[in-house]
């Protein structure tokens, strides 16, 4: 386990940062994004300028305004944040498919297998920060460590725009002086109990004898001691059980060329298929989402007789919807996306006649592609259609 390399990527003051991105005149000003004070709303994000006045997220908006009367109060624009979040996650997923979202602006990445392709964990963290800044214009803080709890802790140490690496050898040096509140999952009650026994730092907790700690924290004692030792074997779990799995992409410039759109769509289908395979699921419904440059958004879907998960089968279903749309609509697209739903376990009870033939062959191909992508990141292997297009941008026949 010591070999793992985990990243925790945390966007800085995410909602406030998106507001500043969209309205540059807000830069440098104290911002409170959240519910209105009249509606007894709470702060979702306070910009760093507002935090200087003691404003924090989850604080009632009225209380925050009392502390910082000059703050500009902005409503939450959830769809806009989700759009930016999708772009952030797309960047993260270009380094490894092992991305576990914690929330809209925060994720763990297991880059253990990506290092051969992209360099060390620290190098990958630097690249991720660079791309988020270049392509989106936002900053992120990244922690790099051998496990999740250390990575999360590290990302918090030098916020904003931080990059902190904790190596296995540094664990005690870094952890010991930190307050126990930094331990992931230790709530106010636990912190209060520890304080009563004058245990303020992680180092103090770590060196306390086992029985004493058990008397203070009960059955959770063992878990927290392991965290204090820098031990956390929890794996990065890419997807939690979802009702649907999807992928979409907003283009920097509208795309009209059908083959270019097909190439994007195919990559999205491959991505979605991989996530299905990882969860051993199959899907019955395939939905395409298409947005025109005037922001009109349409969805088209097809429901199949039985759940499918083989990439080629999913692609055929998506391609059929796309072609039906293309046959009567030829408007440039601003966004295209594919979602699969009506998910069912892939180990269908209905047995198949052709287990030994095409199905097996196709499933085996999928497994091989998944394996390579899992180990080296999504760009490492591509179907020929998407590959050629990326290489030279020509409109070759698929």
């Amino acid at each position: 386990m010591g070999d793992r390399q985990i990243l925790h990527v945390d966007m800085d003051e995410f909602f406030a940062a998106v507001e500043k991105l969209d309205r540059p005149e807000l830069r440098g000003k104290p911002l409170l994004v959240g519910g209105s004070p009249e509606g007894r709303g709470v702060v979702s994000t306070a910009s760093y300028e507002a935090r200087k006045y003691g404003c924090r997220s989850a604080m009632p908006m009225t209380a925050a305004i009392r502390r910082c009367p000059d703050a500009i109060v902005l409503p939450v624009r959830g769809r806009r944040y989700a759009e930016i979040s999708d772009r952030v996650f797309a960047i993260l997923e270009s380094f490894t498919p092992l991305v576990e979202p914690l929330s809209i602006d925060e994720a763990f990445l297991d880059v253990t297998g990506s290092r051969a392709l992209f360099g060390s964990g620290e190098e990958i963290a630097r690249r991720i920060k660079g791309r988020i800044l270049d392509e989106i214009g936002l900053t992120a803080s990244v922690g790099v460590a051998p496990n999740k709890s250390l990575a999360k802790l590290a990302s918090d140490l030098e916020k904003p725009d931080g990059l902190v690496v904790i190596n296995s050898g540094d664990v005690h040096r870094v952890l010991d002086p930190l307050p126990v509140s930094k331990l992931w999952g230790l709530g106010p009650t636990g912190q209060e109990r520890l304080r009563r026994f004058s245990i303020e730092t992680i180092g103090e907790l770590r060196t306390l004898d086992e029985e004493a700690l058990h008397r203070i924290l009960g059955d959770a004692a063992d878990g927290f001691r392991k965290l204090a030792e820098g031990i956390d074997p929890r794996p990065v779990v890419p997807d939690s059980r979802a009702k649907s799995i999807g992928r979409e992409q907003t283009f920097a410039r509208d795309i009209a060329d059908l083959d270019d759109l097909r190439a994007v769509l195919l990559r999205q289908v491959e991505h979605v298929a991989r996530r299905l395979h990882r969860q051993e699921l199959a899907a019955r419904t395939v939905t395409l989402k298409l947005r025109y440059n005037d922001f009109t958004t349409i969805t088209r879907s097809t429901t199949l007789e039985r759940p499918i998960s083989i990439t080629d089968e999913l692609w055929r279903a998506a391609e059929r919807i796309f072609s039906a749309w293309a046959a009567k609509q030829r408007r440039p697209l601003r966004l295209i996306g594919v979602t699969v739903s009506q998910l069912a376990p892939a180990d269908e009870q209905q047995l198949s006649l052709f287990n030994t033939e095409e199905r097996e062959r196709m499933a085996a191909l999928d497994r091989a592609v998944d394996d390579i992508a899992d180990r080296f990141g999504e760009g490492a292997i591509r179907r020929a259609t998407t590959h050629r297009r990326d290489q030279d941008g020509r409109h070759g026949e698929p």
Binding site: R320, L353, E357
Partner: protein, 368 residues
């Protein structure tokens, strides 16, 4: 063009041909039917560029030969609703007038020259099959083809010709239907094109006289089939048909014999309580007895004993999707069916007479 004909005959023909017209198409011209009138007959054509049909309507009084494009939906609605015995069509400039006693419709029309060419039949390479036989073979296979297009090569019917033996095969990957028949194959052609199910459906509907010989021309990438009532021309489904002979079980050692209607009745009665989530039916087989059991997640259970059963072999429990059996049993009518089994996870093979085999994979049994 100017003609008069019997309303019902025209309405039936128009609606058959109109079923080929694509609902949405990049080429608006395809929403038309093409009508060609010449000495005593009217030809009605339509295509979706995949499948084309030419219906020949005899007994038409043609005063002036000619051709016209009619919007498919309107033309077939107008004729279907017409209460009169006979109906007349005439064209002047770019307008077609449909008239019967008490009603007149003027329809502006597209130029017939813009309509895509539809290949014509070439008798040289044709094989012949008796209509009654081909109809039976199509009926016994087409329901087993996949109706979705996610698995290509399976959403069509294999038309395998070898000497004078013809096999139609259809499968959706979970069951497979194989019907065998005879063809007159003077040119000794060997071929095994995959025909779209839609084309086979149209051919089925074009075979009006069971005793006539249907001619089938197998060309490089298309097939034309012609009966007296018309011609179907279809592009072939691309791809390889799976190796179907390999999945026909050969080592089954348990045999059930029962009249098709009796098995269908037992399955239908047992399935009355099932839901979409728990649809499977379970056969419990022992010496000369078959019980069909169902059970749902909500706790409903049914147990139905089939009538007049012969069963030889070790007792067996095996579960199926009921549709896979009932769809097959519905097309064989009251013929006797023999079903052979090996075990609860291997394909069952149903045989009817000497010319129909149907393979169906079971559903994995959950022990309860």
């Amino acid at each position: 063009m100017k003609l008069t004909c019997e309303t019902k005959a025209l309405a039936d023909s128009l609606s058959l041909v109109a079923s080929v017209v694509p609902t949405r198409s990049p080429r608006p011209i395809l929403s038309n039917l093409k009508l060609v009138a010449s000495d005593g007959t009217l030809e009605i054509l339509a295509t979706d560029l995949e499948v084309a049909i030419r219906r020949v309507l005899p007994d038409v009084t043609v005063e002036e030969p000619g051709e016209v494009l009619l919007p498919a939906a309107q033309a077939s609605n107008i004729t279907r609703e017409a209460p009169a015995q006979s109906i007349s069509l005439s064209t002047e400039d770019q307008t077609c007038t449909i008239a019967y006693t008490g009603a007149t419709y003027d329809l502006p029309c597209d130029n017939p020259e813009d309509f895509p060419d539809i290949p014509t039949f070439n008798e040289k390479n044709a094989v012949e099959v008796e209509a009654a036989e081909l109809k039976k073979m199509i009926g016994r296979t087409k329901f087993a083809a996949a109706s979705e297009q996610a698995r290509f090569a399976l959403n069509g019917i294999l038309f395998a010709l070898d000497g004078d033996s013809l096999r139609l095969v259809a499968t959706d990957g979970r069951r497979l239907a194989l019907a065998e028949g005879k063809a007159t194959n003077k040119a000794n052609i060997s071929a095994d094109p995959i025909m779209p199910t839609k084309a086979m459906d149209l051919l089925d509907r074009l075979m009006e006289d069971p005793e006539e010989q249907v001619q089938v021309e197998l060309a490089e990438n298309q097939v034309l089939a012609q009966s007296r009532a018309g011609t179907v021309c279809t592009r072939l489904v691309e791809g390889h048909f799976p190796n179907y002979e390999e999945v026909i079980p050969k080592d089954s050692d348990k045999t059930l014999k029962i009249a098709g209607t009796k098995l269908l009745s037992a399955i239908r009665r047992a399935a009355l309580i099932t839901t979409d989530e728990s649809r499977s039916i379970r056969f419990a087989l022992q010496k000369d007895a078959l019980t069909v059991n169902t059970q749902t997640l909500e706790g409903r259970r049914a147990s139905v004993e089939a009538d007049s059963v012969s069963y030889e072999g070790e007792p067996l429990k095996i579960a199926f999707n009921p549709d896979f059996f009932s769809e097959m049993l519905r097309v064989i009518g009251d013929e006797e069916v023999e079903v052979r089994f090996l075990d609860s996870t291997s394909a069952a093979l149903a045989r009817v007479g000497s010319d129909y085999q149907y393979v169906v994979m079971p559903v994995q049994l959950q022990e309860s």
